[in-house]
Amino acid sequence: ETPAKADAQASSFCPNGELKFGIEPFEDPSKLEPAYNVLAAALGKELNCKVEVQVVEDYAAEVLSMRNGKLDIGQFGPMGYVFASTKANAEPLVSFGTADGKLSSYTAGIWVPKDSPIKSIDDLRGKDLALGSVGSTSGDVLPRFGLKKAGIAEDELNMNYAGGHPEALIALTKGTVDAAQINSQTLASAQEAGNFDPANFRQVWESEAIPNDPITVSADANPAFKSAVKDALLNLAPADIEAVGKFLDVSPAGGMVEVSKETYSPLFDLASTMGLTEDDI
Amino acid sequence: MTTLNLPTPLALPAPPADEPILRVSNLTKSFGGRTVLDGVDFTLHRGSVVAFLGANGSGKSTTLKCVMGLETPEAGSIQLDGTELSNLRGGELTRARASVAMVFQKIHLVPRRTALENVCAGALGRISGPASVSPMFFPRELKEEAMAALARVGLADRAHEKAGRLSGGQAQRVAVARALCQRASVLLADEPVSALDPRAAEEVMALLAELAHEENLAVAAVLHQPDLAMRHADHVIGLINGRIEYSGEISGLDASMLSRLYTPNRVAA
């Protein structure tokens, strides 16, 4: 790389001397920022521009700032991406791959204590179910979709938001609810931290696999910038992704893999079925 | 500092003495069914001191508060220098009011401000703009005038004491000085010497008489000491249960009148 080329890149892809990279925290945000900082540092080196990571607690702010051109790169949860795509014209570039180069995925699930009389999703009628937080893919939309498919109306059981995945898990382990949503990622990290012993619990429902969180840029961005970011991300060494991948239950982590809007089309359908988006998308 | 040199009401040529500067007619006020003022009529003239006498609760303070617009009478008219106050609004009313100064029975100083600052505040009707925003910016002329006012009531040595730290009598003197600093043409004083020691009371009353006689102010003072009234007032008004029962020369205030004024009357009011 000649200095001249680096300067050219800096001027075209590094408008204010730094790129803003927004992260919607997913399952377990502890140590998330340092982990993402590793990834951002690697990305910054590739793009020759400082990348500033910003962890937000909610996708709405991230979508809105991307819509107004105030956010350059954004990672969203699958459902957040649906809104980012429809509201901020976000274009997915890559997501996390497994060691064998495939797109990683996770599942949502509903768990009950081992000796619970609840044997299947149908038995949830009249019971307490802990969800995660509002708008969460695996913590809110998917379990409600599962209930809907099973023909259970929302007022037939007592559903409450616990505030997040770990909170839902606590509600179950402390015995204050009959059932709780726990997705495969939370399950893995809680198991590792010793907060959850699957032997004492049973999964009564599991969703289909959902592709992992995409990293996006605005579709209106300079195509050269888009491809530069994409290349940079795809070129990241698995070691740089490792820290993040762990939280996404992708272990051992592979490199990034390319994704497109189509990859997430089931989620668009899900959003419109659940009435979250207008049908005109 | 031009603000200080503005023509004050005192600079106007004095109207003929028989033209009252304040004319109050038929003032009527009641609180929750209790009639406190019952058709009060009186006039104040430049150059003369009027003493209001009356038993506790006879309506002296309420009369003065009505004149100052701090209580709204049910009926009656208040004419200042020929102008009916109820016809004035906003800035005009404020300016008219500024020509009447009041010493409150309850003193009403700002305890966190110094004596000097409290006295200066009496001049706020005259100064405006940035200089009036904070005591820090008060023009030096104003502070010097306030010092002179404090000296007139014998409190120059405590100018920088916070008002909340003064003794009862000291605070009352600051309240008098604040009214002086207003350069008003009418001065209403509600028991201005009640907390003063006898010599100070005598001096402050003499000061009020001097303001009336030498600087041509109209002064009205509520007093509970008929002897002070006799020595310093030109005219006396006696209130009984919200009605004026005596109004006239100080010499007419004989023992029987005084005894009537102060006879407790539990039936009325």
């Binding site: 909610d58 979508v63 107004n68 105030k70 509002v134 409450n160 204050t176 | -």
Partner: protein
Amino acid sequence: MSTPVATLSVPKVPNAGWRMTSILTAIAVFIVFHVFALRGTDFQLSALVSGAEGMASFLADAFPPDLDWDKVVAPALKATTVTLWIGLLGTTLSIPSALLLAVFASRTTTPHPWVYQLSRAILSFFRAVPDIVFALIFVTAVGLGPFAGVLALICHNTGVMGKLWAESMEETDSGPQQALSTAGASRFQQVTHAALPMVLGQFVGLLLYRFDVNVRSSLVLGLVGAGGIGLLINQSIKSFRFDAMLTQILVVLVLIILVDQLSSFIRRKLEV
């Protein structure tokens, strides 16, 4: 005035130098802190101007409010009653503890300096623990739902109201209380017969302020499954239904205005 205005030179202010120095120091510290703060927060008003368009488009999304009765207004009203109940209990049930701690934590009414320090520490503790944490603690005990939210609010509100009440007692004229103390009234009697009647209006004002905060803190409560209008606003945001959000905010606005009117009505009644 024809006679010149009498004047007298103003004596020196005692300690003027020392006072000036300490005022200037305070101002300097204040400025330095602000410089750090402005830097630390990337404060740039120009960014606000250049992004005004974005705000306009956000507001355009919200207008006109979605007044669909069945889908938006009715659920908002229903959720508001839930929040109302939670806020009511969270406020009134914290009165006893807040009052006790306030009396102990006010210099003018505390029975002993140690009690004073201890109560202030307790109040600080209740304020330091975020209400989500209280919520979590109570959720483990009573399960998800509004009850846990009420308990969390009671704890947090005790801390805030106790502090505000204590300070308002410290700031009020303590003369009547001193008068009773010299009459041999006990601390408790001084409080009930002088301190409290003196600050009653402020107490009511602060209480209803907390009521209104507690009603709005359903946003946090939404996190523990207490539901309420905060949860609906959250859902509207997450599904980018800003017009519905506006309607929900308007419902909250009406509620707040009503509480405000109630506050000033009661305080007028309490006036002498």
